[in-house]
Amino acid sequence: MEDLGEIVAEFLLESHENLDQIDRDLVALEQEPDSRDLISRIFRAIHTIKGTSGFLAFSRLEKLAHGGESLLSKLRDGVQPVTPATITVLLAMIDGVRSILSSIEENGTENDVDIDSILAQVHAQMNAGEAAAEAAAPAAAAPAATVPPAEASAETPVPLDEAPAAVRPEPEPVEEQRKPIGELLVESGGAQPQDVGSALAQQLEGDERKLGTILLEEGKAKPAAVNEALQQQAPKRSIADSAIRVDVDLLDTLLNMVGELVLARNQLVRGVMEIGDATLVRSAQRLGMITSELQEGIMKTRMQPIEHIWSKLPRVIRDLSNSLGKKVELVMQGKETELDRSLLEAVKDPLTHLVRNAVDHGIEEPERRLAAGKSAEGTLTLRAYHEGGHVAVEVADDGAGLDVDRIAQKAVEKGLLRAEQVPNMDKRDIMAMVFQPGFSTAAKVTNVSGRGVGMDVVKTNIENIGGAVSVDSTPGEGTVWRLTIPLTLAIIQALTVDCGEQRYVVPQVAVLELVFIDGNSTKIEYASGAPVYRLRGKLLPLVRLDRTLGLEVGGDQGVYIMVLQADGRRFGLVVDRVLNTEEVVVKALNSRFKDIGLYAGATILGDGKVGLILDVSSLARRSHLTADADRKSLEGSSRANSAAGTGERLLVTAVGERRVAIPLDTVTRLEEFPRDRIEHAGSREVVQYRGQILPLVRLSHLLGAYGEEPEGDTVSVVVYSEGGRSVALVVDRIVDIAENSTTARRDAEEDGLVGTAVIQQRVTELLDVRRAILAADPNFYSDLENDEMLVEA
């Protein structure tokens, strides 16, 4: 841009803004074809571009804008109706203008842009309109058609800026913009000149009240008159003085410096606290407050409403839904939500992709929608809101929803999941598979989406800026894609942790929860060497930070597990100590450390030392590596087992004196319920569980186990869910998870069991899960009878 004259640069900037507005207006115009306001506004904007391009000798641009203007003038004069076809042509014209502008920006010339085909479309549209109009009202149409387009524009009833004025929309001289209120009052007759004079004199003598206030309080002017004068003053100021354009680089520099200032402040405050001098402490606190406000202010300058990137989407949706023959209504909520400029840029493409995907795959064809009892027009909702230091942006459609079974099947086909994992998995975890590279469930590949590129890119892009992506879907009701984005790139919420002798920083967006391991009630267990933790009954793979960093490996007691989520996987990071959460300023890390891959950056900690920010995704990938290795060895051993026995994984429970094993594949969750929450429905015991009524069956009753009821306020249950129904099996105690690698196995002799086996050197009974479930809920399988998903235990 530097090589261009300042005038051209400003023209480009302004025109881009205008074009975005025109885009929005055109799409809006399609919705309300009769809005003369919209037509006039579009007309004015195009006219400005035309005028300026003529002035700057961009003849092609002028010609193109002129063509568009001619068509618009017909719409404006009511000679021709607004039809979708007209809008399409006008949008194409705007695209043409855009490409000329970018050509000017890049090469300083407009010569290699083809405008003839667009102009041909424009003329075709005008002729079509003429033909229609002539047929309808020949007398009215004839003069309009013969008016030379240039003249048509000159005749416009709307007052237009002269072209040169459009180039440099310089404010009028300031004196005229802001007349003193006294003068205004005298002019309007609201106050006498001598009263204003004496009030001014009072001000000179040190009266700090405003002129209007003085006059009011002394009864020299009427409130209405003062108000009117103030209003006369105000709007002019807001146009001329309230906004300036600032170089983004300058803002970035300022933001960096404020970052430094925050750090210096932190260090100073710490030092001053140690000295303990009251005066110094006060000054330091004041400095602290000023710094915080300054930081906030500077951050605000970089904030822009998300509307900036949303504004392009109505156009995207319109074009796409038209080409697909779908009807889509766009709803935007929270478009004033602000985000850091750099983040907006980074979110733009992922968001566009999600929107295209939602229109292409989410929302069904009108016929299918009608058949499903929905309105023919689908709704796409964009929602943005603040949530705990983050901004959430949602793309929600009311389409068919994600097909979880298909995703699971596909994931198994692609080797991303093992078939036996699937029944155990949370619905959301299965849906998250769509973010894996190369994953696409689209039956047909369209030129919009379905090629298996995209969702993983969306995820990578969002994670690169420290955000997260998730998806949730209800079959038949729609899908919600959710982006969680930090407010700014430069400052993040983070947890500081200790590991070894060093302090590390973990971005808080990845942290789900913290668990303290005391070694008694909570402990780290090992599955053939791989550390795991039972988090509410589910095994959480653990990564030891000290081991990962190649440091001395510490003990398993008195440590913390940070439950982290990245890359759609959950894992626990074992650290020595979790200190606190704080806002840290992210510093780029020297490029030589990028290859290590474990660090996302560095920051200056409160004590002035450098702290490394851990890259959670890369830690996750590391944990997968070990998980994959484990899986391989597990598969190896299970192959060995299948030769000898079944090799299935079992949940071993205690029921009275007996040990009962349940295939782990059939277990959805392990829960503990307070004893007093058990209620009765008929002869059955039930508990309320996640908005459902969960029937309970006591294995001790089912199996006729004798022995005392265990003491305690809670009962341990094994929850089994399928197809939205759940039952809970009450056991006395969860003992362990074991591999069934034994050969000693006998078939069942007793009701409710499928057999007996020796597991961990003890005789253990194998539960007939189907029977147990039917005992709890006789109707459990009736809805699923045709489904093959039944797990025969």
């Binding site: 060093q502 960093l549 660090y599 920051t603 030392k609």
Partner: protein, 145 residues
């Protein structure tokens, strides 16, 4: 006669020098943050007025064992390629003005890691100064044996 200015410093009793305009500043610093899994020549990170600087242990680069970073250590901060890098040295010397005629290529007897870092020898009064190749000196991925 052309002459050049060198900032000099000592590591293990040997005098080294780099051209003055490659040096941003010289300072001593106390606390370094180790970077686990980084190449051994990385001494650590420190905070230079809010900027995170990587300190390269010249001792390790020269093939010597690394010394524990305790107490203040002298840093020669080089402008580097866009991002400043620091060389950890034992002692800072003077800035010397040297004529090109005092320059000689490194002696053939010089071998090992040092040879790769040194571009030449300057004959000073009473001692020799080895001129370092700045890029090689801060390249922590250079194989050190």
């Amino acid at each position: 006669m052309a002459s050049r200015q060198f900032a000099t410093f000592e590591v293990a009793g040997q005098l080294f020098g780099v051209e003055v305009d490659t040096v941003q500043e010289v300072l001593s610093y106390n606390e370094y943050t180790p970077v686990p899994l980084a190449p051994p020549a990385v001494g650590g990170l420190f905070n230079l007025r809010g900027q995170v600087i990587a300190a390269v242990d010249l001792r390790v680069q020269l093939g010597m064992a690394r010394k524990a970073l305790q107490g203040p250590v002298m840093n020669v901060i080089l402008r580097g390629d866009g991002e400043p890098v620091s060389l950890l040295v034992d002692k800072i010397g003077e800035v010397v003005d040297l004529d090109d005629e005092r320059f000689e290529p490194p002696p053939d007897t010089l071998s090992g890691p040092t040879r790769e870092l040194v571009v030449g020898t300057f004959k000073l009064d009473g001692r020799l100064m080895l001129a370092l190749d700045v890029n090689q000196a801060v390249d922590t991925y250079r194989a050190t044996t």
